[in-house]
C-alpha cells in the first residue's frame, strides 16, 4: 500500500489527511489519476509531489510502503 498525505486545500477537499492506496508499481502521475477518479479530487495537476519526504517527478515509480505527499503551492514565511 502507498500512504498518501494531503495538506491545505487538498485535505479540506477530501475531508481527511491520509489515505492508503493500492499502488505498488504505479507512477506518481498514475497515482494522481487514480486519486482524481476515486475521490473526485481536483487540482492535482498543479501540485508538487514528495515521495518519502523528497520532491519527486510525475514519472517516479512507487513501491509498497512509500509515503507520497501532495504539496499545493507553499505559503510559508
Amino acid at each position: 500500500m502507498i500512504n498518501v498525505l494531503l495538506f491545505a486545500q487538498l485535505k479540506d477537499e477530501l475531508g481527511k489527511e491520509t489515505v492508503s492506496i493500492e499502488g505498488n508499481g504505479m507512477s506518481v502521475a498514475q497515482l494522481k489519476g487514480k486519486m482524481k477518479v476515486d475521490f473526485q479530487l481536483e487540482g492535482l495537476e498543479t501540485v508538487m509531489t514528495a515521495v518519502n519526504e523528497e520532491f519527486a517527478d510525475d514519472d517516479t515509480i512507487l513501491s509498497d510502503g512509500d509515503t507520497v505527499a501532495f504539496i499545493p503551492p507553499v505559503s510559508g514565511g
Partner: protein, 154 residues
Amino acid sequence: MNYNISKEPIVIQEVIDKVVSRNAGAVTTFIGTVREMTKGKKTLFLIYEAYVPMANKKLEQIGAEIKERWPDAETAITHRVGKLEITDIAVVIAVSTPHRNDAYEANRYAIERIKEIVPIWKKEHWEDGETWVGNQLETVPYPSGKPEEGDIDD
C-alpha cells in the same frame, strides 16, 4: 537544532543565540509577522500548517545552501504553525557572518527559499471567508509537478 517547526510562540532571542559566533561581526534577524490588511482585505487570523518532517529537512537544506554560498555563515530558522493572531510572529531567521553584507544577503536568501520549497501553508481567515494561500510568487506553480532544478538548487 537550528531548524525548527514550532507550535509554541517563537522566542526571538533563542533563535539568535544559535548563531552567535566568535567569528561573527554581524547578526541579521528576519521576523515575519501576521499582517492585518492585504490589498484592502482585512485578515482576522491565520492558520499555518506544515508537513513537519519534510519542512524540517527543507529548512536544513536552505541552511546547507547558505553554507555553500557563504561558508562562514551560521543560520537558524524557526517557523511557527497553528493559529496566529495579527502581529504574531510566524517565522524568525537569524544569520551570522563575519561581515554585515553577507549577513543581510544570506538572510534574504533564506526567506525567499522558504517561500519556494518548504512545505508550509497558511489559511487566511477574513471577515467574509477563508482561503488557503498559495502561489505567493505569482508564477505558474510547478507545471512539471515539482520544482525545476533551478528552483531547488539555486
